[in-house]
Symmetry: C2
């Protein structure tokens, strides 16, 4: 079951700068604890569905199909807000996340991914 | 002035999944207030510099050069942590941000970009 394809407002569509595949980067953040949950991809129709339906829909680059988060996993993302960045190529999607955001079952796609970066103490921070 | 080019640990390099341009998506989040500040791009050397130097370095897609945030603006990003996502194609960079993160002078690149998404009230959230 998918919702009928909505269309983007032409004024908004004119502000978008797509990548070579016609996609925008979508950064998804938990509205409550502000953790960054995952990054997905949207074409204009996925964005239009997301803006109009209350739920987040992506374009799957690996499966070449629309993918409404939670339809198979139950881990729905309810939209709280969507913002476009200054360059017009990235979206920030704030959501109420049901269950785990990551398909591995972790809360976020970054859990366990720390790379051990060097962190300078304040006394050594001289730009 | 740039730091000498460091090399990525081979075990980490093997985990990375680059896009067609050899880049990873880098989501940058304020370590204190947890706002998503901006999204940039890194190749392996930009990531190696970021992991080893305490400051965030990007690859500029428009200028085709490395770009250490703050070198011209003074708006330095001090690294607090870097994490790789489950797919190996996206980084989450937590920073202490000096000044405005956006080149327009706003705190984040998403300020003023709200798209007025439909938000369903809890009573209408039936997946």
């Amino acid at each position: 079951m998918t919702t009928p394809a909505p269309r983007l407002d032409p004024a908004l569509a004119a502000r978008l700068k797509h990548d070579d595949a016609g996609l925008l980067t979508a950064v998804v953040q938990d509205a409550t604890d502000h953790r960054v949950l995952m990054v997905g991809w949207m074409d204009d129709e996925a964005l239009a569905r997301t803006l109009s339906s209350g739920r987040v829909t992506y374009w799957s680059r690996s499966r070449s199909e629309y993918w409404r988060k939670g339809d198979t996993s139950g881990h729905v993302q309810w939209v709280r807000s969507v913002a476009l960045d200054c360059d017009g190529d990235t979206l920030l999607v704030s959501v109420d996340q049901v269950g785990a955001a990551c398909h591995r079952g972790t809360d976020t796609c970054f859990d366990g991914g720390d790379l051990g970066a060097v962190v300078l103490p304040p006394t050594e921070r001289t730009a």
